[in-house]
């Protein structure tokens, strides 16, 4: 059933170098719309690096060379679209909850404001809608003017998700979004991800294999810059084709 879903990203022959070090080797994959795609693999395998190529965050690092193409809806994101527009379409949630040191309201309104929305009524609406979608509205609606750093880590992370949603992206990249959170907050974020995939395409990097198996539709396994195996999550976890994948998910290394 999920196979029929539209393809959002097409990655062709992607290579990435940090100076002389090759961090990604010849990656080819399709990422599907309205699905959760999980990237798993041991530390340093390139999964986060790959995630960051999708909204061109690697551009910020000196000395990065990227070869090959990534197409979003058929458009090459490295040559045919302005990076600002790309990042508006492809939001990102980071490993550590990282709200700006300002109020919850200003955090969520930050994106719309930098894109030129100034009307108070419109901003109010966006902030409320985004916080509701991020399932944190009820918990913070009485303290929107409070500093975002004053709420709990799990709430901060959902405020960060709301901040990403506020610019109306199509895609949300999540870089180990629950690794700094307790189990209950983790559960809330996972439920939220499942809820959000109806409207957005979600790509999540995770260290936690159970998490990948719980929430993702497809899983890609990375090892030292190679994508070893990519397929439907059920198949990857129950019936991996590659020996290395099996070794990793059964906990033989990693």
């Amino acid at each position: 059933m999920s196979l029929q879903k539209k393809c959002k990203f097409q990655v062709n022959d992607l290579n990435l170098f940090y100076g002389n070090f090759q961090a990604l080797k010849n990656i080819n994959m399709d990422i599907h719309e309205n699905e959760i795609t999980a990237f798993i693999g041991p530390s340093g395998c390139g999964k986060s690096t790959f995630l960051k190529t999708i909204n061109r965050m690697n551009d910020l690092i000196d000395g990065v060379i990227i070869e090959g193409t990534i197409k979003m809806d058929g458009v090459d994101i490295y040559s045919d679209i302005d990076v600002i527009k790309l990042r508006k379409k492809v939001g990102m949630v980071f490993q550590q909850p990282n709200p700006f040191p300002m109020s919850i309201y200003d955090n969520v309104a930050y994106g719309p404001r930098v894109h030129g929305i100034k009307k108070k009524a419109q901003l109010d609406e966006i902030v409320e809608e985004s916080l509701k979608r991020a399932a944190v509205w009820d918990e913070v609606k009485d303290r929107l003017k409070k500093n975002a750093l004053s709420v709990s880590g799990g709430q901060q992370q959902r405020v960060c998700i709301a901040r990403a949603l506020a610019v109306e992206p199509d895609v949300i990249l999540m870089d180990e979004p629950t690794s700094a959170l307790d189990p209950i907050s983790t559960m809330k974020i996972e439920d939220l991800a499942l809820e959000l995939k109806n409207k957005y395409t979600i790509i999540i990097v995770t260290h936690n294999m159970q998490q990948a198996s719980r929430i993702s539709d497809r899983t890609a396994f990375f090892l030292t810059g190679d994508m070893i195996e990519y397929g439907e999550t059920e198949q990857i976890f129950n019936n991996p084709k590659e020996k290395k994948t099996e070794d990793y998910i059964t906990g033989r290394f990693g």
Partner: protein, 390 residues
């Protein structure tokens, strides 16, 4: 030697060094306060430094001439007394005294104050009592003076008034001007430079060289900057000894400090702020103005406040660029723009007049300013950090 003894000796040196430091600090502060305190008077805080001579017209009261026993002069509506060097001094002025409506040569009101000295009435010079003390008593002297005034009772007379100086008002004003002007030049330039170095510059050899140069600039003694300033600003740019020459020179001295401190502050701002802002589609400039700079404000403010301390304390560079004249500068540059700051005046007072009391009194004022700056920088940091919720 056993371990106990070693510890004992080490401890002795540690305590002794700490003790010496505290003792010196307390001693210096006490020295300045004890020597300077007698010099701090209302006059010192409110008066001009130089005596000021003015001709004024006064409409004297009619009627009774003569002088009261306590020195009251009815035609002036004020008490007078003998002045040491010249003329007579006003000691107490009636509320409706005509000297309060004295008018200067430009037709503007120049109300006389206590301690103003009258040295000439129309064309009659008022000799000092010193000159005539062999031939008459003080009472007789004052009576003579009263008679001169009585001749003009009810008339408008031209009187030469000397308002005594001895105050630090011009130096306080010059110091204030110097602080504002230097910061107006130095702060924006160095903050922008720090932003460039931390946010835009590509890391590499060139950046290392720039950093090395900035560190070394911070270590050059200020007299070198003073020499440069006096050659470049004062002479080549023909600004003369002036407020602007001084402020420009000080700005150069401040650049490395503010740049370094601001850069350190920018470095402490987590990279995730930049990443998430850019990740939301903000431009680099938006990221800097909306996220980075607001987070850096406490650090930048502290850098600026510490610079104020540096400006207040600067002497060598200003000596060569802003001059030593005790006046309020009347322009930014040119002939009448020279002015001495408090520190410069303290220096010239010791060097040229050997006036330790006044120099120390200025020292007390400087101490108060510096302590005030340090307290406010603490308060600002505390308050802003609270606001940030960190």
């Amino acid at each position: 030697m056993d371990r106990r003894k070693k510890d004992g000796i080490a401890n002795f040196f540690i305590y002794a060094s700490a003790g010496i430091t505290v003792f010196l600090l307390v001693f210096i502060i006490l020295f300045i306060v004890i020597k300077g305190l007698p010099g701090i008077t209302i006059d010192f805080l409110t008066r001009n430094y130089e005596d000021k001579t003015t001709y004024v017209n006064i409409q004297l009261n009619k009627g009774e001439g003569g002088i009261g026993e306590d020195g009251y002069l009815p035609v002036l509506g004020a008490y007078i007394t003998v002045n040491e060097q010249k003329g007579i001094a006003l000691t107490k002025i009636d509320k409706d005294s005509p000297v309060k409506e004295a008018v200067d040569g430009l037709g503007e009101v120049y109300a006389l104050k206590n301690k103003d000295t009258l040295t000439k009435i129309e064309d009659t010079a008022i000799d000092s009592y010193e000159k005539v003390k062999d031939s008459m008593t003080q009472e007789e002297y004052l009576k003579n003076i009263a008679e001169i005034f009585s001749e003009y009772a009810g008339q408008s007379v031209k009187i030469k008034v000397v308002r005594p100086g001895g105050g630090i008002v011009p130096m306080v004003v010059t110091t204030f001007y110097m602080i504002v002007l230097s910061l107006l030049i130095a702060a924006p330039v160095s903050i922008l430079a720090a932003i460039y170095l931390n946010e835009y510059a590509v890391k590499g050899k060139l950046l290392n060289i720039i950093h090395f140069a900035i560190k070394n600039l911070a270590g050059i003694p200020s007299i070198i900057y003073g020499l440069f300033g006096s050659l470049f600003f004062v002479q080549i740019l023909k600004m003369q000894y002036s407020l602007l020459s001084g402020a420009m020179t000080i700005s150069i001295i401040l650049l490395p400090t503010i740049i370094t401190t601001t850069e350190e502050t920018l470095k402490t701002i987590p990279n995730t702020y930049r990443e998430s802002s850019l990740g939301l589609g903000a431009t680099k400039l938006q990221t800097i103005t909306k996220v980075i700079l607001p987070s850096a404000v406490p650090g930048i403010l502290v850098a600026v406040l510490l610079s104020v301390g540096r400006i207040v304390g600067e002497s060598a560079a200003l000596l060569l660029t802003a001059g030593t004249v005790a006046q309020i500068p009347k322009a930014l540059f040119g002939n009448s723009a020279s002015g001495a700051t408090l520190t410069i005046k303290a220096y010239t007072l010791m060097k040229e007049e050997n006036d330790l009391t006044t120099a120390c009194a200025i020292g007390i004022i400087l101490l108060i300013i510096i302590i005030g700056i340090n307290i406010s920088s603490k308060l600002i940091t505390k308050k802003l950090l609270q606001k940030k919720g960190a």
